[in-house]
Structure formats: structure tokens, C-alpha cells
């Protein structure tokens, strides 16, 4: 399982390095979404709003949706899909590998957008750095959940439009827990509940993914 996970993660990241979709399409999308968030707040609030953490996560949700979709588009051309299916890869390993690659991609875009939040929305740098561990865990949970939901919609009719409908409700607790723990870091107050929610969500999604990913691949 670990060998397959490593192989799949390496392959997905290599494809990303070649295609540069993250660099040239997804991160710029995140940046403009962050700027638009500032514009939506209005000139009075854009520079000194407490909404920074929430807007950061909202933008990250949309970035995650794009990356999940991308993660399955590379597998979805009919010939590739059939050939890879006949390689007989361990499904749990495929799930872990795709989650790992997605997690790395989300971490990279998360770091850029976190810097953007500090720069554009004037979120305190020290607080943002303190929030970094919870940001990384939240994005890891998003990657695991996203990989599972991506597999649920892959190849179906209207996969790109179905994905948000299925995924966003699952992301709601991650958004809440991520935003609260980020805000707590800004005010230097620790709240264990949010860490509990993030940990439970991460463990639940990785566990369910390992157990049930194979069922999705059978047909």
C-alpha cells in the first residue's frame, strides 16, 4: 500500500511539475479571489477586517475544488483510465498517493495565499505563523476528503459541477474549525475543540478512504 501510495503521489506531482497548472492557473485564481474578497468587504473594512482567516479558507475551498478536479482529469481520458485500471494497483495505496499529492499541492498554494492574506487583508504576520500548524492539518483533511469525493464523481455526468455539491458540505466543518483556530491564533488563545474537529475529520477521511476507495474502483 505504501509503495503504491508513493508511486502514485510521485506521478501526480511530476505531472503537476510538468503541466504547471497549479502555478499558472490555480494560484493566480486564488490571488484574484483574495483581492476580490477585499473589494467585496469595501474600502472601510478591506485593510483591517477580522474576516481575514475566514476569507483565506473560503478561497482555499475553491482552490481545493479546482485541484481535486484536476487530480481526476489527469486520470479520466478513456485510454489512460482503462490502462491504469489494468495495472491492478492497490486502491488504498492509490487513495493515499492521490491524497498526499493533493495535500502537497494545497500546502503550496496555501502558503502563497496565506502570505497574500497577510499582505492584502493585513492579517497579523505573527498570528498567521502561529496558525500555520492548524492550516496544514486543515488542508491535509481537505485533501483526504477531496480525494474521496473526487473518486465519487470521476467519470460521471457533469463531474465538475457535481463535485462542489458533494464536497462543500463536507468542507463546512473544516472551514469552521480552520477559521476558528486561525482566529484563535491571531488573538493568542488556544481552543482545543477545533483541533479535535480537525483531527477527527482527518482520521475519519483517511480511514474511510483506505477502507472504501476500492469499492469505488470496482464496477
Amino acid at each position: 500500500m505504501i509503495r503504491t501510495a508513493w508511486l502514485v503521489a510521485k506521478k501526480d506531482l511530476l505531472i503537476e511539475r510538468r503541466s504547471r497548472v497549479l502555478l499558472w492557473q490555480v494560484v493566480p485564481f486564488g490571488a484574484i479571489a483574495l483581492l476580490l474578497s477585499g473589494l467585496a468587504l469595501g474600502p472601510t473594512h478591506a485593510g483591517h477586517s477580522s474576516a481575514g482567516p475566514g476569507l483565506f479558507y473560503l478561497v482555499m475551498l475553491f482552490v481545493a475544488l479546482l485541484m481535486i478536479n484536476r487530480s481526476y482529469v489527469i486520470e479520466s481520458t478513456p485510454g489512460t483510465r482503462a490502462s491504469v485500471q489494468t495495472l491492478g494497483l492497490d486502491p488504498a495505496g492509490v487513495f493515499l498517493g492521490k491524497s498526499l499529492a493533493l495535500c502537497v499541492e494545497l500546502w503550496l498554494s496555501g502558503l502563497v495565499l496565506l502570505a497574500g492574506t497577510v499582505l492584502v487583508l493585513h492579517t497579523a504576520l505573527h498570528g498567521a505563523l502561529l496558525a500555520l500548524p492548524s492550516v496544514l492539518v486543515t488542508l491535509a483533511a481537505m485533501a483526504a476528503a477531496g480525494t474521496l469525493y473526487g473518486a465519487l464523481t470521476a467519470g460521471g455526468e457533469g463531474a465538475a459541477t457535481l463535485l462542489p455539491v458533494l464536497t462543500l458540505p463536507a468542507f463546512a466543518p473544516l472551514l469552521v474549525a480552520g477559521e476558528r483556530s486561525f482566529s484563535a491564533a491571531l488573538t493568542h488563545s488556544g481552543l482545543w475543540e477545533w483541533w479535535l474537529i480537525l483531527a477527527v475529520a482527518l482520521v475519519a477521511y483517511v480511514g474511510v478512504g483506505i477502507l472504501l476507495y476500492g469499492v469505488l474502483e470496482e464496477s
Binding site: 506521478k11 491492478g88 494497483l89
Partner: protein, 217 residues
């Protein structure tokens, strides 16, 4: 299923959105044989190959392929024993020729040193570092073959493999198929027209309307 048969289908039906792609196929194929499935567009050639590869489920009827029951068996087991070459290409477009084959070889736990010899055999050695999307249609087909040679599958399912091949490519492909069958594999391929080969004498199966219309066995 009698011993020696790799494929045994009885009234096999495959549906897609309520449309019968296959409408009751009866077919038996022996091990270590070469068969060509021909038929007009929409006759059900690709669907039949996909059924045999375990890529689509049987809607009704019975079928056994390489010892796996298509209705009740584990299709993942079947897929592991099949080599598939689709007419769309079989690889990641953003990876180079070498990277695609390293991925396949690693997944199949084959030694990486096999890659060089396989590429030599299909005539793609000089394209080792070329990104797959930059290859011509014929070269992509050769890469698909290299992927299959790495697999050493017992059942080869090739969807219109002669498309996009020049005369030299066809001769090369005829020789390769003869070798594969000699080595013990069973090969089933689809084609628009009956095979024009000077060396191969395959069994010709004609499909029409999702059923076998004629079979020269």
C-alpha cells in the same frame, strides 16, 4: 468453462444508458490464439473488448474470462491479467515516454532495465525523453505496445491497433503479435476490416448489431 478456453460468453448483454451496446454475444475463444473482431462503426467491437477486460459490467447473460466469472467474480482480478491497448492512447500525456514506462514497470513490479529493451523493440529508443503529447499518433501506438510488452499479460485486448500505423509499422506489428501468441498469450484485437496480413492467420469474428454475425472457427 471447458479447459483451454480463455473466453466463454453466453447471451452477453452490456447496456449503457439503457442502450444495448452488446445485445446477446455468444463466443468461445481458446487459449494461445489470435482473433480479430471486425464490424461497422457501432457494431459493438470496443464494448466487447471492454467487457472482456473487466472494464464494464455484464448487464445480463453469462461470461467467464481467464477463469473469472464476469457476473459474480472479482473484476479487479481479471483486469490484473489483461493487457489493454485502447485507440485513445494509454498513458499520461504530461509525462515523458520514459516516465510513463517507469510508472507502469514500478506498478507491475517489473525491473526498470526492461524498459530499454522494450523501447528498442518498438523502435522508440530515440524518443525516451519526449513528452507523450508531442508524439505522433503512430508513435503513441508504439508506446502503448511498449506498455503492453512490459506487462507480459496472458490476455491481450487491442482496440483497433492497426489504426495510424504505416506499412512498416504493420509488418512490425504482425511479427510482434506472432511472437506474443507463440509465447503463450491469447490476443484479441478489433479492426474495421478483415486483417490484411501476409503472415498471420487469425480467427475472424464479425459483429453486427451487438451480436456475433459470423465466426470462421
Amino acid at each position: 468453462m471447458p479447459k483451454g478456453l480463455v473466453v466463454a460468453l453466453r447471451e452477453a448483454v452490456v447496456l449503457s444508458s439503457g442502450f444495448p451496446l452488446l445485445s446477446g454475444v455468444n463466443l468461445e475463444l481458446e487459449a494461445q490464439s489470435l482473433s480479430v473482431i471486425t464490424g461497422a462503426n457501432g457494431a459493438g467491437k470496443t464494448s466487447l473488448l471492454r467487457l472482456l477486460a473487466g472494464l464494464v459490467s455484464l448487464s445480463s447473460g453469462e461470461g467467464t474470462v481467464a477463469g473469472v466469472d464476469l457476473a459474480k467474480g472479482d473484476l479487479r482480478q481479471l483486469r490484473r491479467r489483461v493487457g489493454w491497448l485502447g485507440h485513445e492512447g494509454s498513458f499520461y500525456n504530461d509525462l515523458s515516454v520514459r516516465e510513463n514506462l517507469v510508472f507502469a514497470a514500478s506498478a507491475l513490479a517489473r525491473p526498470l532495465k526492461d524498459i530499454d529493451s522494450v523501447l528498442e523493440r518498438v523502435g522508440l529508443r530515440s524518443r525516451l525523453e519526449t513528452t507523450t503529447k508531442a508524439l505522433s499518433a503512430g508513435q503513441r501506438r508504439r508506446l502503448g505496445l511498449a506498455w503492453l510488452l512490459l506487462r507480459r499479460a496472458e490476455l491481450w485486448l487491442l482496440d483497433e491497433p492497426y489504426a495510424s500505423l504505416d506499412e512498416q509499422g504493420r509488418v512490425f506489428f504482425d511479427a510482434l503479435l506472432a511472437d506474443v501468441v507463440d509465447a503463450g498469450a491469447t490476443v484479441i484485437l478489433s479492426a474495421h476490416d478483415p486483417l490484411r496480413s501476409a503472415t498471420l492467420r487469425p480467427r475472424q469474428i464479425v459483429l453486427r448489431g451487438g451480436r456475433v454475425e459470423s465466426d470462421d472457427s
